[in-house]
Amino acid sequence: MGAEGIAAVAPHAPARDGARRGRGIAYQIPRNSLALLMVAQVAVVLPFLLHLAPWLIAVCLFCCCWRYGVYQGRWDYPSRLLKALVVVAAVAGVALSNVPGFSLEAAASLLNLAFALKLIEMKNRRDAYVVIFLGYFLIATLFLFDQSMLQAGYQLFAIVVVTAAMVGMNQLATRVRPFSNLRLAGALILQALPLTVVVFLFFPRLAPLWSVPLPNASVTGLREEMTPGDVAELGRSDALAFRAVFTGAPPAPRELYWRALVYSRFDSGTWSVGPDPGAAAGPDFDRDETTARSYEVLLEPTFARWLVALETPLPESPGIVLTRDWRLQAPDPVLAVYRYRARAYSGAVPEPDLVRPMRARETALPAEDNPRIRAFAVALREATPDTRAFVDALLTHIRSEPYFYTLNPPVLPREHSIDRFWFETRRGFCTHYAGAVVFMLRAVGVPARLVGGYQGGEVNPITGHVVVRQYDAHAWVEYWQPGAGWIRVDPTGAVAPARIEQGLRAALSAEDRASLPVLGGVRLRESGMVRGLLDWVDSLDHRWNLWVVGYDGQLQADVLKRLLGEVTPLRIGIAVATGGALSGAVVALILFWRRRPPSRHPVERMFAGFCARMARLGWARRPDEPPGSYLDRVAAAAGQSADARARTIARLNGLLYNPAAPGGRAELRQLRGELRRLQFRLAFGPSSGVPG
C-alpha cells in the first residue's frame, strides 16, 4: 500500500490518474498478491527463454525490476510518454528481429511483451486480473513450442504460482502469507487433476480450424540438401530423433537402416533431393508376411514431411504417402511428436524394372566435375565388368588403401570435392564414402543414389523401444540392378565396420570423442549408473509421448471404443458426467477423511455402543449427562441396589477417566458383562430372573 500511496502523491502523476486511484482501497492490489504476481511473471516468462530472442527476456526482467522498485516505494510508475515509447520500441524490435512477420514466434514475442509491460502499469485489481489471465494464456502458448514431460511439469508449477497470485487477490491486505497461498493454490490444482484427466480423455480432438504458423525450423536434423560434413554436425548432437516400438523383439541394430531422404542430385559438391518423384503407383511388390515387421514410430518434430521407415515400407496409419523412391511421407510437416505405424518387408524387390525417367534421374551427373574419379571408375569398370564385382572392388579399395573414418574431416572445396577426398585427404564420414561410391557408380552408368537417414539405435532395457538420436544419422548407397531392384551398400562398413556393428562410439577416435557433448558422451558408454538413469528418463519420456502427446483423435477413438463399446454422444456425455462425479467424489472423500472424528478409546467405543442400544430401548442419554450419572439413572430404573450401582459406576469411571487404573481386558470384560445384564433387565423387566 505504501507504494500506491507514494505514487498517488507524486507531483508528476497526472491528476486524472490520481483521481482514479482515489476510488478507494477496494480496488488496490493486495501487496501479498503483488509479490506473487511478480514471481508468477518470472516463472511464466522464463521457459520462453529457450524459444524467443534473448532481448525479450531482458525487457521482461527490466519491467520486473521497475515494478519491484515501485513495490518498494522507491520509484514511480513510468510516465505515459515513456510507456508509449517503450511499446513502440518493443513492437519495432519484434518487427526488426529476424523472425517472419506472421509466425508463432512473432505472436508469442508480442504476447510476452504485452505481459511484461502490463506489469509496469498495473495499478488496480482489474489490471492484476488481466495479468493473471494473460499468464494462464502464455502457459498454454508455450505448449506450441514444447510438449515434453519436463515442460509440462514446469508449467504445472507455473500454474500453481499464477493461481496463488489469484488467491492473494481475494485476500485481506493484512494477510501476508505467500507460502500459505501457494499451498492453497497447489491443493486447488491437485483437486483439479482428476477432472483434467477426464477432460483429457474425452474432450473431442478437433481438427485445427486455422493453421498455426511454423516455429522457426532451426533444428538439428536431416535436411533436404547435404554437403559432405553435414552428417558430422549431426554426429555431435545427442538430441532425440525418434523412438520406435516393434511388435515383438526389435532387430539387431546393424539391420536397422531407417530411410528418411533419398538424394538423387549432385551439384557442385552438394547432394540434394531433387524434384519430387511423386507417389508410388501402389504397393505392387510381392509381400511376404512371414518376414514382415510391424512397428510404430514416434518422430520428434522435424518441420518437414519426411518420415523414417525401414525398407521396404508399407504405411499402416492413414494419410501417409508412399513415394516412388519407397519412402514414407506425412501429409503435413511434422511440428509435434508424430506417431505412425508401418510395416517393413525386408526381402521384397519393389522395383525390378526401372522406368526411363527414374533411370535418367538416378544416373545424372554434372558434366565436368571430378574428372579424376570418373577416370578411376571407368578404368576399374573395364577391369571388372560385372556390377557386383565392381562394387566389391570399390569396397576393397577403401578397405585396403589408407582411408580413415573421422568426425572432423578436412574442409573440401565445392569444385572437384570428390576427387580431392578420394585421392588426397582420404579422411571422412559416411557421407564422403557413400557420396564417392554413388558418383563412381553413376559415372559408369549404373543407377545409384545416396540415401540419408539413421542407422542403428539403442534398445531401452526398461520399455524395450528403440531410441534413435541425431548422432545415429547416417548415409549409404543404393544401386539398381535389373531384376534385383535396389541393392543397399554401405561403404562406411568398409572403412569403419565398428560403426555399423557397435554404433558410433566404437568407430570414433579419442579426438572425435572429446568433441562430443557431455551427455552424448555418457550415452555412448555401455553401462553405469548414469546410463541407467538416462534409460529410465528416456522410458518415462517415451511413455509420455505414447500416451499424452501422442493421444490424438485416432487413439482417442480407440480408447473410447474400448471404454464405451459404442461411441455415441449420449455415452460420451454419461462418461464425462461419471468421470466428473468420480473426480469430485475423490476430493469429497479426502475432505471427509480429514474431518473424521479422532479414533476413540475402546472403553469409549463400548460405552457409545451401550448408549446406542439403550437409546433404542427408550433410555437415551442426554448429551450433557456424564456417563456415571447416566448409568446411575438407568441402573436405578432397572432396580439395582445402590451398592451394585456404585461398583459399576466406579468401574466405568475408572476405565474411562482414570489413566492410572489397572484397567486391562479383564476389567473391560467385566464391565461389558455388567452393562449387558443391565440392558437385559431393562429390556425384559427386573422380574425375568436374570441375576444382576
Partner: protein, 304 residues
C-alpha cells in the same frame, strides 16, 4: 479424613450451604482466589472468616470503600526519625488470607492495586518488588453491581478469581435453625483450625496429583470450543479459564475423595468457574453469566 473434617466444621458455622462451602474449599485447595457475590446479610463475610480460621491461616480484613487508596492496601514508606531513612510499613495485604470485604465499593484504581498481588503473589511499591507470604489467598465479597455505590470489577480482575460463588437464601429448615440458634459470630470464635500450614500444603499438593484422562480433557476442550463458537457468547473462555476449570475440577475430585476427575466434577465446578468470565453477546455489559453456564452445560456432549 481431613477434607470431611473441613466441610463439617464449616457446616457448623454456615448452616445449610454445603455445596457452596465445598466450592469455596475446592477453590482454595486449587490455590485460587475466591469471590463471593450476594446481597448484604447472606453470610458472605461469615463464610470467608470461617474459611480462614479452619485452614489455620493468618488473615487480614480490608474493608473496601470508595475512598480507599492503593497505599492503604499495599503499605507505604514512612520516614523514621531515629534512623533518618524511609521505612516501608507493610499494608494489610501482607497476610495469608485477605478478606477483601465489599471489594466492588473501591475505585478501579485501588482494585488495580490487587492485580499484581493476585496473579504474581508480589507487590511493587516505591519501585521495590516484595514477595507476599505463601500461601496467599484473596477471598473477596461483593454486592451485585446493581446495588448503589458499587463499581463493576474490570474483566482482568474478575478473570483472576478462580471462582465466583453465590450463597443464596438458606432453605427453611436451615433458616429455622439459624433463627433458633445462638450468635453466629460466637460460633465463629469457637471455630478451631482443622489443618495447619503443612496440612494445607499437603492437601494442595494432593490436588495437583489428581489425574485427568484424555477423554476428560477432550470434554473440557469441547466446552471451551463451544463457548468460543456459540453465537450467544460475547467472547469465549480464555485458556486461563480452561486451566481454571480443570484445576477446580481436580480439587472437587479430591473433596469427593477420588484420585481422578470424572465429568461430574467438571459440571459441578463449571458454573462457579465460568459464570464471571462469560458475557452474553446480546447484553455485552450485562451479567448474564449464569444462564450462559447452563447453556454451556446443556449444549456440550460429555462423551465426544
Amino acid at each position: 479424613m481431613t477434607v470431611r473434617a473441613l466441610v463439617s466444621a464449616l457446616n457448623g458455622v454456615l448452616l445449610g450451604k454445603e455445596p457452596q462451602i465445598r466450592l469455596a474449599l475446592a477453590c482454595l485447595l486449587a490455590r485460587g482466589h475466591l469471590l463471593i457475590e450476594d446481597l448484604p446479610g447472606m453470610g458472605k463475610t461469615l463464610l470467608s472468616h470461617a474459611l480462614a480460621r479452619v485452614l489455620g491461616l493468618r488473615f487480614q480484613r480490608i474493608q473496601f470503600t470508595s475512598d480507599l487508596l492503593p497505599g492503604d492496601v499495599i503499605g507505604s514508606s514512612v520516614f523514621d526519625r531515629e534512623t533518618g531513612a524511609f521505612r516501608f510499613v507493610e499494608g494489610p495485604l501482607f497476610a495469608e488470607v485477605i478478606l477483601a470485604d465489599e471489594i466492588n465499593r473501591a475505585t478501579p484504581k485501588t482494585q488495580s492495586a490487587l492485580l499484581e498481588a493476585m496473579e504474581e503473589h508480589q507487590v511493587t511499591a516505591d519501585g521495590v518488588t516484595r514477595r507476599l507470604p505463601e500461601p496467599f489467598f484473596v477471598i473477596a465479597t461483593q454486592n451485585p453491581v446493581t446495588q448503589t455505590g458499587t463499581f463493576p470489577l474490570p474483566e482482568s480482575q474478575l478473570d483472576r478469581f478462580l471462582m465466583r460463588i453465590e450463597l443464596g437464601y438458606p432453605d427453611p429448615d436451615a433458616e429455622r435453625e439459624l433463627l433458633r440458634g445462638g450468635d453466629r459470630r460466637a460460633a465463629l470464635e469457637r471455630l478451631e483450625p482443622v489443618v495447619d500450614a503443612a496440612g494445607l500444603a499437603a492437601l494442595q499438593a494432593a490436588v495437583e496429583q489428581v489425574r485427568v484422562a484424555d477423554p476428560l480433557i477432550d470434554y473440557v476442550q469441547r466446552l471451551v470450543g463451544y463457548s468460543r463458537r456459540g453465537g450467544q457468547f460475547a467472547f469465549g473462555l480464555s485458556p486461563r479459564g480452561a486451566l481454571a476449570l480443570l484445576k477446580a475440577a481436580r480439587a472437587w475430585a479430591l473433596l469427593s475423595e477420588r484420585t481422578h476427575v470424572v465429568p461430574e466434577d467438571v459440571q459441578a465446578v463449571l458454573p462457579g468457574v465460568v459464570e464471571h468470565r462469560l458475557r452474553e453477546a446480546a447484553d455485552y455489559a450485562g451479567h448474564g453469566g449464569g444462564a450462559l453456564a447452563q447453556q454451556l452445560l446443556a449444549g456440550v456432549d460429555v462423551v465426544g
